[in-house]
Structures are given as C-alpha cells and as structure tokens.
Amino acid sequence: MANFEGLNSITLNPGMASQNLFALSSVLVGDELPPLTSGRMRLYNMIFCPFAHRSILYISKKKLPVEVIDVNLMEKPDWFVQRNPLGKVPMIEHDGKVVYESLIVNEYLDELFPETAILPTDPYERAQQKILVERLSSVTGVFFAFMMNKDGDYTQAIESMEKALENAECLLVDEFYGDKTTGYADIDVWPIFERFPIITLNPKFGVKKIPGIKYPKVSTYIKRMKKQPEIQAVMKPVELHENFFKSAWIEKNPDYNLGI
C-alpha cells in the first residue's frame, strides 16, 4: 500500500552496520535511528507482533502516510526504551510526541485524523465497539494459551478455544463486529484470527480445524475479512507467522527477518 514507508524494512538492531536495504520503499536502516522530519509520523513496529499489527491495520485502513521502523525486541535499542519505557510496540512518534499501547494508538490516530475515523462518532456506538473489544479479548487469550503452553497438555487450551469461539460467534450479529464495514473491534481482533491457523499446523495441539463447522458465522467472517483491502495489504502467509512463532517461542531466537 502506497502510504507505508519501510513496512518490510530490515529490523533495526542496536549494533548493526548501516546499509541500504531493499524494502517496500527505501528507508536507510542501521544501528542509528534515522531522524524524524517535523510533521512526519513514525510507527515503531515488530514485523510479527499481533499488537503492532492492530496499528498497522488502522494505518492501512486510514491510508495515513507513515514511516515504519521495525525494532528488535530481544535487544531493545536505547533510543527505543527512551521513548517507551515499557519497551513495547506499537508506538507512534511525531513532533516530539510519543504514544503507545495499540488501542490507545488507534484511538489517538482517529482523533488526529477524524476524516478517516474508524471509531464511530456517536458516543454510544463508540462505547459498544470498546465493549466488544473487551468481550472478544478471550480470543487473544486462546492463541497465547497454545503458544505459551509449557506442560504439553492442551486440554485447557482447547476448552478455552471452544468457549472463545462460541463467544465470538454469538457476538457477531452483522457482517463485521463494526457492522457493515470493518471497525475498531475487527481491527483489534483480526491479528489473532490471522494467526489462528498456526494452531492447526502443530499436530501436538490436537486441533484439526479452526474455527471449524461449529462456528459458521466466524468462519465466513474470516473469509470476508481476508478480502478487505486494508487486511490484504499487510497480511502475511500462515507459514511465515508459524515460522516466526517457532523461532521466538521454541528456539528463543526470534527471526525478525523472515520473509524479507
């Protein structure tokens, strides 16, 4: 998508030598942080982070011109921690201001650029989108229950998956959680739905299909979401997601440069 710069730039590590790198558009990367021009907006990202993905989707849908800097979260550069003491992505920076926490970033972007607002302007509808995010949060929990499982017993993870999907099915009363078009809640939950197929790729998890025939609305919803331009623009193949999670959670050596 033309509004992004550096979306697949090489991850900036603390001690990497400067080099020109081929990316979606040319952004110089290296151990030095490129200066941020006044008036320009920058997103600190991690290529495979589902939380940063929420902000990438927001920026994608709003078609905002944004420069993306990918960060090595295992070895956080000083300039990163100075801006966000919590050391997490996503983080937005512009004109000396720094905002972080994915949902706060997203709402902030809507407040700065109300012409392309994704959150409704009506206070009640707005509140309902935020309540939906809360009510769908079990979906995120499921994903990490599988990824971070330590004892090899996935019974509880599978149980929580069924409950979360039942809940998601029940809450889907229109084409999207944002009704007729993708909204705040859809963007919040999509990164996890995009990664869900990973759960079926590992035979040890014992899950053959996700979401499966018990959840027809969610199944159709996922197919519908994959057709949305803002989703497609930044979607990654499941194998790439899977390889990243393997490198991060099993090998404990996240490969941020997969797929570049």
Partner: protein, 248 residues
C-alpha cells in the same frame, strides 16, 4: 453529594424487584466495595452528573442484572435503553455525553497520555490482590511486586495529580486501588506492611493526603474499618455488601 440518589442504598438481591428507570434519568449499577465501580462513582461525583445508584449483589446475581450486563460485572450504566459497561468505557462515555464537565483533556495527545498513565499504573491492582490473598509461600514475592508497582507510581507522579494541577482521568481510575493498598496493613496485619507507604514514597503519601481532600474522593471513599469488615465477610463466601449503611 446532591447529584447521587441511592449511593448507600441497600444492596438488591435476586428476589428484589428492580425499580423502573424513568426516561432521561441515568442509573449506575454499583457494588459498594468494588474498586472498578468506585471509578464510576468518582467520575459521576467529579462531573456532578445526576445519577440513581442501584447496589447489586454480585455473588448471587439478579436475573434483571444479567439481562443488562451478561458479564455480570459492575459498573454498568443505563439510560434511555442504552447499556454501557467496563469502567474505563463508562468514564469516557460520560465525558462524551457531558463534554462540558469533561475530565479527560480535549487535546488528543494529553488524552492519550492519561490513558497511558492508567496502563502504567495498572500493576497496583494486581499487586494488591496478590497480597490480599498471599500465603506464607508467596508473600515475599507479593511484597516485592507491590513495591515495584508503588515505585512506578511514585516515579510517574510529576505534578500534584496524575492529571496535572487538578485531578484527572488517571487519578479517578487509579484512586480506588490506592485506597485499598493503604488499608492493606489493617486487612493483613500478618504481613507487617505498616511501613509500606511511609517514608519510601513521599510523593505518593502527599498525593494520597491531597486526594482525600477532594470532594469527589470524599463521596466515594469508604472508611478503613469498613474495608476490613468487607474483606473479612468476603472470606466467609457471603460478603456483607451493606456494611456502613445506617438504618434510615
């Protein structure tokens, strides 16, 4: 405070009928000792918005309550057929429908900063509950956890309030858990936390004193003894939601 009706009304049980809600009126479903519901009470107090309060039994949830909030949690607000819940969502919604008394700043960056503060202060609640239920095995870790959360709170306090010169969104949302942290030494005397807030946290100590002077905090705060009694009653499995309600 004149804008509240029923703030200390008797807690309603499943058998109790829910009084009808007049059109145009706002109702808050509350539990008198819930820190999250207290956020809403503080917000209503600070905004001086008229509200009718229904105190709900959360251990034995009335059907009429679950029909409104399927998650069965407080706070929930209701008006003209609309239901809103989740304390932070309730607070922001109130600012949206009553913008003249907005607690959140209008500036997008300052607004975001208040919400980030709430996130950065959020470890206090987990640390509180961890120590509330601490056993001999985990109490040392629990105390370390709380100290870490308080260290963060101390360092983030760079003005009179987290909201700046006057109390703001972050103060309203963080106060209820600080109120309970203060009482923790009385609830769990066995943990020997008496010196917890004392000299180690000069800014927080001054902040807490300053907060207690605010009219909105005076409305919402519960006396230490009541917190102690409530937590004691909670341990029996049948919490006494009506502690402190004097006969009419």
């Amino acid at each position: 405070m004149a804008n509240f009706h029923g703030l200390n009304s008797i807690t309603l049980n499943p058998d109790d009928e829910l009084p009808p809600l007049a059109s145009g009126k706002i109702r808050l479903y509350n539990m008198r000792f819930c820190p999250y519901a207290e956020r809403a009470v503080l917000y209503f107090a600070k905004k001086n918005v008229s509200v009718e309060v229904i105190n709900v039994n959360l251990v034995d949830k009335p059907k009429w309550y679950l029909e409104r909030n399927p998650l069965g949690k407080v706070p929930t607000i209701e008006h003209d057929g609309k239901i809103i819940y989740e304390s932070a969502v309730v607070a922001e919604y109130l600012d949206d429908i009553f913008p003249d008394s907005s607690v959140l700043p209008k500036d997008p960056y300052l607004r975001a900063h208040q919400k980030i503060l709430v996130e950065r202060l959020s470890a206090i609640s987990g640390a509180f509950y961890g120590l509330l239920r601490a056993t001999a095995d985990n109490q040392e870790a629990g105390i370390a956890n709380l100290k870490k959360a308080l260290d963060t709170a101390e360092s983030l306090l760079t003005d009179n309030f987290y909201g700046g010169k006057s109390s703001g969104y972050a103060d309203m949302l963080v106060w209820p858990h600080l109120e309970r942290v203060e009482v923790l030494p009385l609830i769990r005397p066995d943990l020997h936390l008496d010196k917890l807030l004392g000299t180690d946290y000069p800014k927080l100590t001054a902040y807490i004193a300053r907060m207690k002077e605010l009219p909105e905090v005076k409305v919402a705060i519960r006396p230490a003894e009541h917190h102690v009694q409530f937590f004691d009653s909670y341990k029996t499995g049948k919490p006494d939601y009506n502690i402190g309600i004097t006969a009419a």
